[in-house]
Amino acid sequence: MSTEKPRPTFQMDGHDVPFDEGQSILAAALAAGRYVPYLCYHPEFQPHGSCKVCTVKINGRTHASCTTPAHEGDVVESNVDELNDMRKGLVQFLFTEGNHFCPSCEASGNCTLQAVGYDLGMTSAHYSPLFPDRPLDASHPEVLLDFNRCILCELCVRASALVDKKSVFSLAGRGIQKHLVVNAESGKLADTELSVDDKAMSVCPVGVILRKRRGFQVPIGERKYDEHPIREVAVQKQKGE
């Protein structure tokens, strides 16, 4: 007789997914090798559920799967047309909101937004682009900030506050005016304590936080999502590989 209690499970798209007490639907699904698209989630940080791309239906109602704890017997729908259409709509919203020009972007091929867009079969942003005016910040000797690509996931905010203990990044403004700011009266990155080995340097899912003089070192076509589809990368990342 085994002394180990069997882990509780919920159902996702007809498959049993085991989970630990308190674990979110998203984390459990990824750990079980079941991909759910997401942008603002990161296995090393407390989820905050702002992008809503990981939305699933739990017992018939829509929820962000990253912030919803799993319960025994939950019936979860994820990889169905209705939800994938919603996710595509949300990714189109993000492409509409910012200035995303993949062909000229240093992050192309390494960009989660781009990869999720491809994965969901997105072929255009659909809506009239908002073309916000978001000047670059090139003040820092080592780092360039290109706010045009920011999707407001707050990963750099969280990483800088919780891991680096510097709070270099914050969000300001409201609604569509919401934007990333740096922690300096001048508003310039050079006047913050950011250094290139900060955790905040490595968490941006798009191409906002860039090392200077490293552009296009890896050719397009040989980058992360060129080599492996995001479905595989996301599952590996959850397992810490």
């Binding site: 909101e97 999707i151 609604g175 569509i176 919401k178 922690n183 009266e185």
Partner: protein, 596 residues
């Protein structure tokens, strides 16, 4: 008066959770919170600078840039618009030769708009340096313009500009019951805490803010949550456009409200209450503080309330953010942060203000609770419907002869309210505000009750002369302005909806816009983070279902239209050449075709 940020911070005991109140104090001295002041406040409070900047930029009533010495904000609710606010604002802008939101070169004045100021029964209304002025007319605008030109400080303006009238047109249980101060507290003490909660539960009292959660259940959950400290928060952030019933309750029945908060404190074991008052009601601050002080002197607040328990109430003034009406966003705001709704669970009843168990109740709910505590569950049960016991206070405005406050037993028909308020030729009624339900003329038999048409209190009436698409366009603009921006669907969806509605109303929309309006609304409904986003598409979806011909009439036949607007593109050229004549415009397709 010169600004001393560290002195202001010291006055608030260096407490970072009081940041919003601290910023109010800074604004009162300088009219804005300049970048060096943000730095100084952050240092004094031990907060990251970016966090303070984030708070300043989040709330409409704060600004990091200088605004005019006179900050004029026209209330932008649809009822103000119907009463002529756009024309009055244009007139005032023209007389100062200003663009909306622009500060005059001498720094004297800026003229802009703000979301509904809760004066819909006496609009159009404006705020000048955060003081409310109702009943605007061309003559009153003229007087205000002269006072501003003369640089007369607002506190020396004539008294006749400011009085807020009280229009109570129908009283029922809540508005007609007199209670001697302390009666509800005494009754609660006599009954005991647990039995008081039980009584509230049996009364069937449901939250009057719109969601309709059982008040007794909420109190019981808070009372049984672990931990020694608990809080009672009264949500007086009445921001739903078209709602002004809390204004009346706070102005004329504050004792009853504080009685209800104190009973709640006794029942759940909280010793502190906080009243979160919307910033648009500054005229209520002094009277409310005076009422609180009187109650302290009478032994109804303080260390020993009726020698039985400790309870006191603090006033917290919001700063212009509709989203703070959502209870967890309100709590964030109380803690001095941006008003972003939290992830739930955990709920405020277990992890609320400062992560302590907290009850958040609407003003009207707490007033009703005071009466139930005094007169028992049957008092409420005797009126209303089985699922909606008691009464509902409606704020009636728009195309009616007698706008004002109407209290009815739940179950009253929409038609009854219209008849009592003197509405004729009613085309539509927006019940519950933009996030509520838009009813067409064929639905006026429906009833105000949680089980039929729920309402937080707004009741805006539109007669046959109104353009319902312009109404919906106003609502989409409201949501775009008030979205907190936390989640993708609401942040982007509200802005896209407002843009598309603007195109449709101006006659440049396409069938694709109409399809996309439905798609965006449904996406917001399904995936948004909080109630603001999930309901932001309601007016569009209701209008598409009930006023579809109005949309189709406005559309050009093309499936897709260029989003590039030639006439709009000429605007900078017009400005540069100071021309605004016909020849400087592309007026329609024909004239465009005629241009070489």
């Amino acid at each position: 008066m010169t600004l001393d940020p560290s002195a202001i911070v010291a006055r608030h005991h260096g407490d970072a959770s009081r940041l919003v109140q601290i910023l109010h104090d800074v604004m009162a001295v300088e009219g804005h919170v300049a970048p060096p002041v943000i730095t100084a406040l952050a240092r004094a409070l031990g907060l990251p600078r970016g966090q303070v900047e984030g708070v300043v930029e989040f709330y409409s009533f704060f600004s990091s840039e200088p605004r005019g010495r006179f900050r004029v904000l026209f209330s932008d609710n649809i009822t103000d618009e119907m009463a002529g606010s756009h024309e009055l604002r244009k007139h005032m802008l023209d007389s100062f030769r200003l663009q909306p939101g622009e500060v005059s070169r001498d720094g004297l004045v800026s003229i802009g708009t703000t979301s509904c100021t809760g004066l819909c029964d006496q609009g159009p209304a404006m705020l000048v340096n955060d003081r409310a002025i109702p009943r605007l007319t061309p003559a009153r605008i003229g007087a205000i313009t002269s006072l501003i030109r003369g640089d007369v400080p607002v506190d020396r303006w004539p008294d006749n500009l400011f009085p807020i009238a009280s229009h109570v047109e129908r009283r029922d249980l809540l508005l007609s019951t007199e209670l001697s101060p302390g009666a509800a507290i005494d009754a609660a003490i006599a009954r005991g805490a647990a039995a008081t909660i039980e009584e509230i539960t049996r009364s069937g009292l449901r939250g009057r803010g719109g969601a309709g959660f059982s008040t007794g259940t909420k109190w019981a959950a808070c009372a049984s949550a672990p931990g020694p400290e608990r809080y009672i928060v009264c949500n007086a952030d009445e921001g739903e456009p078209g709602t002004f019933k809390d204004r009346e309750l706070l102005a004329a029945h504050a004792d009853l409200l504080f009685e209800g908060m104190t009973v709640a404190g006794f029942a759940v074991g909280a010793s502190k209450g906080i009243l979160y008052l919307r910033a648009e009601y500054p005229f209520l601050v002094e009277p409310l503080l005076a009422t609180l002080e009187a109650r302290r002197r009478a032994g109804l607040l303080g260390e020993r309330v009726r020698d039985a328990f400790a309870f006191d109430i603090e006033l917290h003034v919001g700063a212009g953010a509709y989203v703070c009406g959502e209870e967890s966003a309100l709590i964030e705001s109380l803690e001095g942060k941006r008003g972003i709704p939290r992830n739930r669970p955990p709920y405020p009843v277990t992890h609320g203000y400062l992560q302590k168990p907290t009850v958040v109740n609407n003003v009207e709910t707490l007033v009703a609770a005071a009466l139930v505590a005094t007169h028992g569950a049957g008092f409420l049960r005797a009126v209303g419907t089985p699922k909606s016991s008691g009464t509902k206070i409606l704020s009636v405005s728009g195309d009616v002869a007698r706008p004002g406050i109407y209290e009815y037993p739940f179950g009253v028909s929409v038609q009854q309210v219209l008849d009592d308020a003197g509405a004729v030729d009613t085309q539509a009624v927006q019940v519950g505000g933009p996030s509520g339900m838009l009813l067409s003329a064929s639905e006026l038999h429906r009833r105000i009750a949680f089980e039929d048409v729920p309402s937080a209190g707004a009741f805006m009436v539109f007669d046959g002369s109104r353009d319902m698409l312009a109404v919906v366009e106003n609502f989409t603009r409201f949501f775009a302005h008030e979205s907190c921006g936390f989640c993708t669907p609401c942040r982007v969806g509200t802005t896209l909806s407002a843009q598309m509605m603007k195109r449709v109303v101006s006659g440049t929309g396409s069938r694709r816009d109409v399809k996309d309006l439905a798609k965006v609304s449904n996406l917001m409904r399904a995936t948004s983070h909080c109630g603001l986003g999930t309901t932001a598409g309601n007016p569009v979806l209701d209008a598409l279902a009930k006023f579809r011909p109005s949309f189709d009439k406005r559309l050009r036949s093309l499936e897709v239209l260029p989003t590039f607007d030639l006439d709009e593109a000429l605007a900078p050229a017009r400005e540069a050449t100071a021309r605004d004549d016909e020849g400087a415009h592309f007026t329609n397709q024909t004239s465009q075709a005629e241009k070489p």
